[in-house]
């Protein structure tokens, strides 16, 4: 099993979710995060004083999935999240040793 972490632009969350759901991946966990990267933050000006906001609002999606689905899932995310502009985000893949569904104590891929 793999643990996929995708950092994307907030308004691409819905499309990504739909794309994954077409693959049969319904489960995921989403966090609002602040992203730092090549895409620059913005400046706000209040009463003539500049306030630099270095970070950009991003959304982090975490998905535990069967290794067999990995490449398809990556493709789906890329195509739904890609706007072609800097700051579109990243996908990180980690190895997942075990998974467990709390309600039933099922383990492994059947827990996903």
């Amino acid at each position: 099993m793999k643990y996929v972490i995708a950092i994307i632009k907030p308004h691409r969350l819905e499309p990504v979710r739909e794309a994954l759901s077409r693959l049969g991946i319904e489960g995921m966990t989403v966090t609002e995060v602040k992203g730092f990267g090549r895409q620059r933050g913005h400046k706000e000006i209040y009463r003539g004083a500049e306030y630099t906001v270095n970070f950009l609002p991003k959304v982090k999606i975490e998905i535990a999935l069967d290794a067999a689905l990995l490449e398809q899932a990556i493709d789906s995310i890329v195509s739904a999240a890609n706007t072609g502009q800097i700051g579109d985000g990243k996908i990180f893949v980690l190895d997942l040793e075990d998974a467990l569904r709390i309600r039933t104590s099922e383990r492994g891929t059947s827990a996903l």
Binding site: I45, Y46, A49, Y51
Partner: protein, 440 residues
């Protein structure tokens, strides 16, 4: 305050002996022979509620939205505690020092004969108002004036210092200046016009704020790494309340429900509207984005600037005052921050100080302009009056700056002005007041 411009005051000859004259003629002696007017009383009771509303919660929210989320409660707390403390000081000393006769010292300060309202009976009148009504209306001015200074020191001040400073400042700065202008003191004697507090309120608070900010030092991260206003919506809400309340502040200062009150309300409103739009236009053209914080800062600048002149100009004058307020205060903000590099955090000096002084000086030039403009009191020349106004400005500014500095130096000698650096980092809400603003 209408009284500074009331007919009886006009009789006071502008002369070298003005100060002595004021002692004798007592331009502001309440006309005891008059009867109370229910209509006037109804309006001034209302105006009193409106002016209290300006501070609680108006000003508190206006300021509270501009700081970091970790300091919002501390700002609300400072405003509320100042309001309470100022009320008691006003009862014990302030009102009497401002509005009772000071005997031989009367040009400079009133006496203590009315401390705790001693000697005020159920039928005492001030003009057509029962004296408790006048006392309360004035109390709300004594509340908001020190509360304005909160904008100079948020996010880093020691709370105890705020309280101590407020009590001393009210007695040593506010009460005397109030007496000079509205209580029959030397500026009243000279014929200075300050309808609702350009000098008494805004110039005193604004210049004292600058001194406070200077002596206190800047916030951690000033000027480049500050957090943006955490909740501009709160600030707008506060500004709106200030605007509505200012109708009580300025139109209430007519001390009557009459045409003067109506015109004062009108010019107040026009100045606020013009200044808001002007500030917005400046930002739009310079930065490409008109901001809400900018617009409402313009509102307050327009309101502060019309305040001394609200009894003296017509709507056209108000348009000019509003536009001037936005242009000048906008520059003022930048000069204080970038040139003087003083962290007058919420721009009390640039908005209130500059605005109050600007309005005081524009007043003689615009008094006769356009329809509904009353003009200057009979017998006054534009430049003569300008001179008197300038004297008023200089006197009030010097007094405010010097005395505020002395108060702060005294406090610094025995205690500390700033909260501990740790508390500043963590935020005053949790560190000083043990509370958090938002648990969502």
């Amino acid at each position: 305050m209408k009284r500074g411009t009331a007919p009886s005051a006009l009789r006071v000859v502008v002369s070298a002996c003005a100060i002595v004259g004021a002692l004798v003629l007592g331009g502001t002696t309440p006309a005891l022979a008059q009867e109370a007017s229910r209509g006037d009383t109804a309006w001034v009771l209302t105006a009193t509620a409106l002016v209290l509303f300006m501070t609680l919660p108006g000003l508190a929210l206006f300021y509270g939205g501009l700081v970091r989320a970790q300091n919002v409660l501390s700002v609300l707390m400072q405003c509320a505690a100042i309001a309470c403390l100022a009320s008691l000081v006003w009862l014990a000393l302030g009102y009497s020092l401002a509005f009772s006769s000071g005997g031989a010292l009367d040009p400079l300060i009133g006496g203590l004969s009315k401390a705790f309202l001693a000697g005020v009976g159920p039928d005492s009148l001030t003009g057509t108002l029962p004296e408790p009504v006048f006392f309360m209306f004035q109390a709300t001015f004594a509340i908001i004036t020190p509360a304005l200074i909160v904008g100079a020191f948020p996010e880093r001040v020691s709370f105890a210092t705020v309280l101590l400073f407020t009590a001393l400042w009210l007695v040593l700065v506010y009460a005397p200046v109030c007496h000079w202008v509205w209580g029959g003191g030397w500026l009243a004697g000279l014929g200075a016009i300050d309808f609702a507090g350009g000098l008494v309120v805004h110039a005193t608070a604004g210049t004292s704020a600058l001194v406070f900010a200077r002596l206190l030092g800047p916030r951690q991260g000033f000027p480049n790494e500050l957090s943006p206003p955490h909740n501009p919506g709160l600030t707008m809400m506060g500004a709106a309340m200030l605007w509505v309340g200012w109708f009580g502040f300025n139109a209430g200062s007519a001390l009557a429900a009459d045409g003067l009150a109506g015109r004062a309300m009108l010019v107040t409103h026009i100045s606020a509207s013009t200044a808001s739009l002007t500030w917005m236009a400046i930002e739009w053209s310079r930065y490409g984005k008109p901001s809400l914080v900018g617009l409402v800062t313009g509102t307050i600048a327009g309101l502060a600037t019309i305040t001394p002149a609200a009894g003296s100009v017509g709507p056209l004058g108000a348009v000019i005052i509003g536009a001037a307020a936005a242009v000048v205060c906008f520059e003022g903000v930048k000069i204080v921050k970038n040139r003087l590099r003083i962290d007058d955090s919420l721009d009390v000096f640039a908005v209130h100080g500059v605005g109050g002084i600007l309005g005081t000086l524009l007043l003689p030039l615009l008094a006769g302009l356009g329809p509904l403009a009353p003009g200057l009191p009979e017998g006054r020349s534009v430049f003569g009056q300008l001179g008197v106004q300038a004297i008023g400005v200089v006197g009030v500014v010097i007094w405010s700056v010097v005395v505020s500095a002395l108060i702060l130096l005294a406090i610094r000698a025995v205690s500390r002005l700033r909260a501990p650096a740790d508390a500043e980092t963590e935020g005053l809400d949790l560190a000083v007041h043990g509370e958090r603003g938002y648990t969502l």
